[in-house]
């Protein structure tokens, strides 16, 4: 055997041995990860791994700390889930070996994260200490720390973190009414572009699927802040200003969430704050083109990937319902009651089914989106966020 052939054979043998060892010496079954996903077990710090083709639980990974308000991004090969816990824990979980590969405590109080388009950097957004921290996606070593210091010694809580093309991250400063865009092309010298006075109390944000517009929802006023990132000189402007029409707002028992799923075709569907409505905005003119009354304070307003439907869930006490908007008729076409305390929804990659978590029924329901039939129910203790690996291929997820 020639030396090169021998080396190749040895490498093949050692990788087979490694896989065999992980699978308990059984013959390893090769598989892709494109139809895998995770469900957050909110109460017990456990990540439940799911197969969206078989519609089954395939494993669980405990030991992830406080997972209230946990969120997940995926490596671009769809193999690793990065889990951001409330307690500042950042864990890298291998979906195939079903183990924690690395775990760091990166902050005192965290709220989510993002991964760069090239897959090399993972960023966490933090409340305490307020700011973002950027990590090497492979090793979880800290490579950049950007405190959200908006005044001497004052750090803002950070919300609405998204990835932008070119190793950039955009995020909003709840306490500073600001939007920052940090370029981590050279992580040892991050460069931050700051937009001030964007509107009062941004609570979450999104980037449109084309990466062009960054939009922050405002808690402190009726309206949203919008930045056209493709402009020669990007600036923040207000859209949907005064959508509450001066009426006293209803109590907001839970803050809504924004992501790129708001966009369906050329319209965006956005949760109103303090009004039981979904606001519809044209993404060319950014003018309001409609509003749809719904069953409660909307929390997630998510377009099915094809944009034909928009699914809405609600804050307590209306969170036993889910409503479906038909985007052609611009009205509710279905109201479902999949279980108590619906916290999250996630579409399969092409939207043939949606997975819905019902915290108080300890259940995840899989619902076919055309006829709304329930295809499966999975027992998961206090499920909250559901995240499928198809997010790896989408900007702003």
């Amino acid at each position: 055997m020639k030396r090169r052939e021998w080396l190749a054979a040895a490498a093949a043998l050692s990788s087979v041995a490694a896989l065999g060892g992980l699978a308990g010496c059984a013959t390893p079954v090769l598989r892709g990860t494109g139809d895998l996903g995770v469900v957050i077990g909110r109460a017990n710090g456990t990540l439940y791994l799911v197969d969206t083709s078989a519609r089954t639980l395939i494993g669980e990974v405990p030991g992830l700390g406080d997972l209230s308000h946990a969120s997940v991004v995926f490596s671009r090969d769809g193999r690793h889930a990065y889990v951001f816990g409330r307690d500042g824990g950042l864990s890298m979980v291998d979906l195939l070996t079903q183990r924690i590969v690395r775990r760091v405590m990166q902050a005192g109080n965290a709220i989510g994260g993002a991964i760069s388009a090239d897959g090399t950097l993972v960023a966490a957004q933090n409340y305490t200490p307020g700011g973002i921290k950027v990590f090497d996606a492979r090793t979880l070593e800290l490579v950049a720390d950007v405190p959200a210091e908006y005044a001497p010694g004052k750090l803002s809580r950070v919300v609405g973190l998204v990835d932008l093309p070119g190793r950039r991250f955009a995020y909003s400063l709840f306490d500073a009414d600001a939007i920052w865009v940090t370029d981590c092309s050279d992580p040892s010298h991050p460069v931050t572009l700051k937009f001030d006075a964007i509107g009062r109390q941004p609570y979450d944000a999104l980037v449109t699927p084309d990466g062009r517009h960054y939009m922050a929802g405002l808690f402190g006023e009726d309206g949203l802040a919008l930045i056209d990132l493709w402009a020669d000189r990007p600036e923040a402007r207000r859209i949907l200003a005064g959508y509450g029409r001066g009426q006293a707002p209803l109590p907001v028992y839970k803050m809504p969430h924004l992501r790129g799923w708001a966009v369906a075709g050329r319209r965006a569907y956005l949760p109103a704050i303090g009004r039981h409505e979904v606001l519809v905005v044209d993404t060319e003119s950014w003018a309001e083109v409609g509003r749809i009354p719904v069953a409660g304070q909307p929390v997630f307003v998510m377009a099915r990937p094809d944009g034909r439907q928009v699914w809405v869930n609600f804050a307590v006490p209306d969170y036993h319902r889910v409503q479906v908007i038909d985007t052609q008729r611009q009205q509710i076409v279905q109201t479902l009651e999949p279980g108590k305390a619906v916290l999250h929804m996630e579409f399969t990659p092409r939207g043939d089914a949606v997975w819905i978590s019902s915290r108080d029924d300890n259940r995840v329901s899989v619902i076919e989106t055309r006829h709304f039939t329930t295809l499966a129910r999975l027992d998961v203790p206090a499920p909250s966020g559901i995240f499928f690996t198809a997010r790896a291929a989408r900007m702003g997820f």
Partner: protein
């Protein structure tokens, strides 16, 4: 039932009945504990260590007057995301929650008085 037993029952139940007029019963108490841990927890954290809302741990609330704490729960805090909960809680229930927050809030699984 002997007279002594009856007397003892009244003696033991008396304070319980008096308390019941202002405080939630066992079923409602369990609901309130769950509500605080889970629903308040969406902003304050399931472990009440804070999030968009401040920490609600015993240490964090030690200096906060009980009446003010109960009032914040009932009426909210204008200018912040803290909503008024009066549509979902009575004033005695808010006060009951405030008291327990200051004592260190019970876990859901643990028995609640």
């Amino acid at each position: 039932m002997s007279r002594t037993a009856l007397f003892l029952s009244v003696l033991l139940l008396g304070p319980v009945l008096a308390f019941a007029q202002s405080a939630p019963d066992a079923t409602r108490s369990a609901e309130l504990v769950r509500m605080v841990r889970q629903d308040c927890g969406s902003c304050h954290g399931m472990r009440l260590t804070g999030g968009l809302g401040p920490a609600l741990t015993r240490e964090a609330l030690a200096e906060f007057p009980l009446d003010s704490l109960a009032a914040v729960i009932v009426h909210g805090r204008p200018g912040t995301p803290m909503p008024p909960w009066k549509a979902m809680l009575s004033e005695p229930e808010a006060r009951w929650i405030a008291q327990r927050l200051q004592q260190g809030f019970p876990e859901e699984s643990a028995g609640v008085r």
